[in-house]
Amino acid sequence: MKPLALIAVLMTGILLLYGTIDMPNWGDPDSPASIHVSPRYIEKTVEETAVPNVVTSALADYRGYDTLGETVVIFTAAMACILLIRRPRK
């Protein structure tokens, strides 16, 4: 079973590394994210959300789904701990 798992991990790693070839350079000012998304968030945050903190508006407003997913992950961690470790009282 272990060699099979190792092969699966290696194949996934190679695929992920292959995927990074198409990505823009780190900090590239001409990358699509820097051209379209970031300036829009920075310029329109106060006008659109009345929140003076860009991080908060990106986290909870523009990327609300993402934060919901993060909260579900934390909730799942607690549920997994309860299911694995907690012993019912006799």
Partner: protein
Amino acid sequence: MIAHLEDVIIQTVCRILIPFIQVYGLYVIAHGHHSPGGGFQGGVILGAGFILFCVAYDINEAKRRLSEKLDTVFCSLGLIIYSGIGFTCLVLGGNYLNYSRLGRILPVDPVNARSLGILGIEIGVGITVMAVMVSIFLDLVSRGKHEEGLG
């Protein structure tokens, strides 16, 4: 198992410190709009205050303040607040988590409704993170029994 250690210095210092830690946690959640912070950080601070109480006193004493049942309810309550705000926006005719639609039931304009919606979900995240921290800590430290102290 280590016997529970009664230490008057630790207990007194914690009794004085914990209210300030909790107020600071609430401040970090409520002020997340304007300064660094938000639901995750504030929830962790609130949870850490409670964990400090568990360490200084006893697990049974801590469970009298916040039972494991209530703690598990809080785990879900935060998520319900978050997704409930999302569904409220859906019911009011917008997209999921489109807070500007909350302006129809709140007495503010749509732009400020977005700000209030963000505050609402930050509170939900804070409740969940606090309850999860406490729940995982209690499970790990008492080997799932929730009866003996920190052994």
